[in-house]
Symmetry: C3
Amino acid sequence: MESNYSVLKIFVSNTDKIGLELLYENIVQEAHKNGISGVTAYRGITGYGLSSNKIVTSKFWEITDKLPVVIEMVDKTEVLNAFYAEIEEKLKSTGKGCLVYQQPIEIKLHQSGKK
Amino acid sequence: MESNYSVLKIFVSNTDKIGLELLYENIVQEAHKNGISGVTAYRGITGYGLSSNKIVTSKFWEITDKLPVVIEMVDKTEVLNAFYAEIEEKLKSTGKGCLVYQQPIEIKLHQSGKK
Amino acid sequence: MESNYSVLKIFVSNTDKIGLELLYENIVQEAHKNGISGVTAYRGITGYGLSSNKIVTSKFWEITDKLPVVIEMVDKTEVLNAFYAEIEEKLKSTGKGCLVYQQPIEIKLHQSGKK
């Protein structure tokens, strides 16, 4: 059992870009380069408050819709704090709406895959 | 850094209705009308315990399946408490299974999109 | 209002197997057999750190991709602890990467569906 771990959640939109890259893919790559332990991104089916104050909705075939994407990162709290400090200016510079929050967690298992 | 923020998570099914409307879409619209700061809904790929005590599962093409939907709302704790008090009777009146929980969070960034 | 409830989150991959069965489906079925109150599984669109240290990504049509799956279980903390103790050896025996964490929650509503 380990302590002092947290989850950091970053809410953006699936259409937000930074340069030519998708913002959420850029953030996942940055996390990977910085050695953040585990990262998962999910696409929502509806929501608002991110880049858009209108409700966006996904019907199955409308795959080009603007939809919420949340990126969830797990690591030691101080590692996440340092990573967030590094990307904060980038998130602010996009001019896009963005919500970021953090919560403490209790790790029960953290196992690497064997080759 | 702000404090006293929470996340409120509401678990329903993607087929639950209130009148002619989908329950989860109705809840997202109510949250929007009540000025809740940020809302994202996700569809699960399998689960149980919501409206159904049987395990429901999504294979890719079975898009009419009954599946779990979770609605995640972020705002000040007292704002979420007031909003939940307003929709509690509606959730109870559906006769559908429903799980609602709340957790405190630490907001790192809450940025509105520029027009 | 009830207390002493938690959420247990298990991160695996959608392709991890235990015998001939998908690992995440096996875990959901075990949870169901053990009477865990509510379970929802989600598929991510990208991520790393689970079974794979490379970033995996979903484009819409590439449905056979290896992707992150997170299983979220809600019940009393001691019930989740007992269930986790029961499946821990199985998760370790797969040789696959796996992250498990737990957080306390405050239940606002826990309503069974009427037949």
